[in-house]
Amino acid sequence: MTTQQNLTRIQLSINDEQRTVDVEPRWLLSDVLRHELGLTGTHVGCEQGVCGACTVLVNGQPQRSCLMFAVSAQGSEIRTIEAATPVEGLSPLQAAFEKHHALQCGFCTPAMVLTAEALLKMNPNPTEQEVRVALSGNICRCTGYQFIVDAVLEAAEAYRRVSSTTQREGQ
């Protein structure tokens, strides 16, 4: 049995940048992001889809990067935590996480922020229950979730302001 396989060339849009990577088909997207592209903000916890730490946005939707071969992601748009901070400073979500102490060790945080971002984009007016359900696939062993939920609900206000502005501009 060979351990080295032929490399396959794939193209991905990562954080709005076109990247070309040569991958072995058996390489997980999480490993390619971390080892080949140096995007170590994507954390790897359980490698079986349970902990949610490796969640990234694939074509805008949260997906587990440990349950996807990078080669299958050919042509996809990937968004990782490295793209979450605007040039002018923390995003409303990040600022709310800071304000509410929504992280302690920080291991789950990148995936929490990305999942919350996708939720608020889809639904800028979530109930507490909807926030909890959306984040239920992301395990945090420090905070007990309450402060994370508080932060997401507060950040939702900022998303509502943005979406109402966009709507007015669209009219």
Binding site: L28, G52, C66, V71
Partner: protein, 271 residues
Amino acid sequence: MKPVAFDYYRPENLADAVQVLQSSPQAKILAGGQSLIPMMNFRLMRPETLLDITGLTELDYVERTDRGLRIGALTRHQNLHMSKLVHEHFPVLAEAAGEIGHWAIRNRGTLGGSLTHADPASELPAAMVALHADIEIASSDGTRTVPAEEFFLGFLTTDLGPNELVTGIEVPVSDTSQFGFSEFARRPGDFALAGAFVELHGTDRGAVTWFGVSGGPERRETRFPQNRQEREAVFIDLTQTFDPLDEPEYKRRLAVTVAEDAYQNAAGRLD
């Protein structure tokens, strides 16, 4: 851990995919990969050849037919959950799809993958049996259709041949039946410990289809007495007709509870 090396094929269309299956019948099909990849990460599965059908966008659809709805094998669980057509015609299917794993899992997992994997605790195989769906299958010999009830043969086992691929399903719309759904899991997103679909034909006849209680979907035609105690007695008798894989007493008790919830759910849709 990491998966072992494998040969990788990514066909662009169904014709190419069945061709690969014909020449490499040992190939494992990768659709959403939400069950297959964890097993490969653990090296519980070491397929020599992987046929990645992610690119077969022709299998990603929900469409109205004369009989009912046709749904493509590559339809993601989240899209099944959100689909207007599915909501309109089969609210229980939309509801059940929303209970599969977590949001991130539903965004990747597919209908065809779930049916082919045939995990006894999964919602969709039982939904197909309960809703009288036909499973559409393709191979290099052509296509064939199997009623869902004949497709699931037991624990992780289906009627699918090594050179075959599930391409979609068709669910007939019924004017006379109402359906209800219920499941019990310890936490949202966990595998259900037991679940049930109830079909009510009129007010007192129909069927219960359970999942998570044995090796595969268990459909039983039955009558539904109006009196709750009598109805429970009927459910208790029915649960004696299948063999739970573990904790039989507990599973049978749960099976009665979810059947009653699903019944109430279906009865609520009668008016």
